[in-house]
Symmetry: C2
Subunit: 406 residues, 2 copies
Amino acid sequence: MGLIVHKYGGTSVADIEKIRNVATKVIKAKKDGNDVIVVLSAMAGETDKLIQLAFQASDDPVGREYDSLISTGEQVTVSLLSMILNKMGYRTKSFLGYQIRILTDKNYKNARILDIETKAIENELQKGSIIVVAGFQGVDEDNNITTLGRGGSDTSAVALAAALKAHACYIYTDVNGVYTTDPGICEKARRLSKISYDEMLEMARAGAKVLHPRSVELAKKYGVPVYVKSTFIDDEGTLVVKEDKDMEKEVVSGVSYDRDQAKITVSHVPDKPGIAASLFTPLAQKNIVVDMIIQNASSEGYTDLTFTVSKKEIKEAQQIVEETAQYIGAAKVEVDDTVAKISIIGVGMISHSGVAAKMFAALSNEGINIMMISTSEIKISCVIKAKYTELAVMVLHETFGLDQKA
Amino acid sequence: MGLIVHKYGGTSVADIEKIRNVATKVIKAKKDGNDVIVVLSAMAGETDKLIQLAFQASDDPVGREYDSLISTGEQVTVSLLSMILNKMGYRTKSFLGYQIRILTDKNYKNARILDIETKAIENELQKGSIIVVAGFQGVDEDNNITTLGRGGSDTSAVALAAALKAHACYIYTDVNGVYTTDPGICEKARRLSKISYDEMLEMARAGAKVLHPRSVELAKKYGVPVYVKSTFIDDEGTLVVKEDKDMEKEVVSGVSYDRDQAKITVSHVPDKPGIAASLFTPLAQKNIVVDMIIQNASSEGYTDLTFTVSKKEIKEAQQIVEETAQYIGAAKVEVDDTVAKISIIGVGMISHSGVAAKMFAALSNEGINIMMISTSEIKISCVIKAKYTELAVMVLHETFGLDQKA
C-alpha cells in the first residue's frame, strides 16, 4: 500500500476493450489501498501512422512540429482511460506533459527530462483521484511539446515514480517478464524472477526490448523497484532492483542480441591526435549514436577504425563519415549492414574469470566468426554475421546453463 | 497588404496532398506581401472518429477529457502544414491553444473565448514566420484544454483576426461563397458577392452551414471583414461586412432552412408568473439551446407553450420537460421531430412592409401549413412539416426574386 505507478504499452491500450481491461487492473490496485498513477503509450500502431504522415509531409520534418504531431497518440489514450474510469465511478484526471509539467531539454525527438513538478498531481492524489498521464511527452521551457524517443513512456513512468517517491513502478507489457534470452528464438529461455539494475541496463542496451535503457538508468539512480509484468496474464513477472546476494551466484543472467546494427570501417587513417574526435563529433552533432568502437593497432603511422551504428542511421552516418574521411585523408570507408551484436550479461562476471574465453570458444566451435569484441564489467558483446544470430543465442544460452533454474 | 488570417476547413486539409495545396495558397498570400496567420480544422472525418471513440468509452464522457481528446485532430494538421511550409523554404511555427494562449471559460465542448494573448504570435510574425494555429481549441485558466463547439475553427480565425487587428479574415471552405439558398436543393440559388454581418448571422442561425454564428457575431463586434471563398476554385467568393447602401436595396437576401429541429408542446399549463422560467431554466442548465418559443393566449388561467430544440437534444430535453411539467401541473407534453424551420433574411425588411404576409401567402398557396412563426427585424422564420422543406425553399426563392441578379 502506498503510491504506485502503472505503465501500459501500446498493445495494452490498442482499442477501447483493451483500455477497459487496463481500467479494471488500475481499479484493483486502487481498491487494494494504493494511490495510483497510470502512464499510457499510444494505441499500438498509432505512433507509426503519425510518423508516416510526418514523412509524407517532409523527408526531414522539423523536430518541434514532429514532436507536437506524434505526441497526440498518448493524448488520445489518456482521455479515453480517464473517461472509462469516470464512468466506472472513480474520480480521475488526465495530464499531458505541459499540464504536469514534465520539463525537458530542447532535444526534439529524443528529449531528456530535466525536472518534474509534482504539485498538480499531488493535489489530485489528495482528492482521491486516479492520475492518468500521457507517456512519452514533455515540454521545454518555452512551452514547446517534446518527446522522449522510442520507449519514452517507460522513462515517463519511472521518472514520475522517482519524482513522487512511489513505492514501485509496474511496467505492464505484452510479455510476462524479463527472460534469459528471447523466447521467440530460444525455446529454453527462462523468465527471471529478479534482475539487478545493471544487468537490466546492459540487456536493454544489448538489444532486449522489454525496457528502455534510459528508464532503467533512472530507476537505478533513484532506487525505484520496477516490476515487469504481463497486462494479459496474471503472473508474478520480473522485479528489477538493486543487486543483492542471491544474484551474485549467477555468472551470466542473460543472452541478448541486436540485429539493428551496421558496421562502418574507416581504413588507413593517418594516426594523429584528434582523429577519433574529428570522426565522431560530426556524428554526435547529428544525434547518431555510435555503439561499439574499435581502433586497430597502428602500423607505419596509419590505423583502422571500426564502429557500429543503428541500421536506421547507416545512410546518414555513411555520408557524414565519407566526408570526414576525405578531409582527414583516410583511404577507404566500408559499410556492412549484415551484422548483429550478441551479448552475455551477468553481475557474476566481475568475480569469475574465463567467462570471455568460454564465450569465444562456444561461438568458434559452431564456426561463428567474431568481427568485433567489446567488454564492460558485466557484459561481453561480439559482432557477428547476422545470419548466425539464432544459432549464437542458443549456443550461449546452453553454454552458460541458463536453461536450468539457478 | 498587411496582416491577414486564412482559415481552412476539414475538407481542405483531408490528406497530405490537400495540405500541400493549402501551403501553396498560403505562400502565395505571403509572397503578395502579407503577414499570414493560418487557422486549420482537423482532417475531414477525424473529429467524428474521435467523438465515436469517446462514446465507445462512455455514454456520458467527461467534458474535460472529451475536449482533450477531440482537440488532437487540429494538433495533427497544424504540425503537418508547418512541416510542409518549412520544407518549401518558409519560416513557420505552429501554435496550440495553450501555447498562444487562447483563454476560454470552463464550458467544455462549447467554450467561449475570453482573451487572446498576442505576444507569442507577434514575436514570430516579426521574425517573418507564417503562423499556423490549431482551430477549435483553447485553454482555461487552469491549463485544461477546451473546445469551442461545432464550427469553432471559424470562431478561432475571426477571434485571432480581431485580437491581432488583421486586415481581413479569409474562410476557405468547400463552397465558393454564401448563396441566396442551398444550391443543393434549389438550382436557381445565386452566390452573393456581399452580405451584411446581420444577415449572415441570421442565415447562420437559421441553418446555413457556411459560417458558424459565433464567428459572425465576433466579426461584427470587431468589424473584421470576412471573405468566404473556395479552397479548390479560384473565385471571388462572398464578402461579409458592415451593412452599406447597396445592400439596402434588397428586401430579402436569402432563404435558409434547418432540418435539425424538433418541437415540444406543453399543454394546459397553469398561467402563473415564473412558469416559463421554471420550464426553461433546467434546459439552460443542461446547455440545451431553445430556439423558437411561442406561448398561446391564455384561456381560463391556462396556457400552451411550444418551443423548438435541436433534434440531437430532443431526448434529453423531453425528459427534463416531462419532469418539470409534472411539477408545475401541466397536462401534457408532446414531441414532434418531423419539423423543419424555414427562414427568409434581409436587411431591407426593416423598411418594407408586407414581407411576412407575402411569405405566408406563398407557403399557403402550396398547401404548406405553418406551425410556428417567429420574427426579428431582418428575419422571418416558420416551422413547417419537414417533408415540405425543399418545396418551401424553392417557392420562397422565386417569390422574392432571388434568382435574378440584384
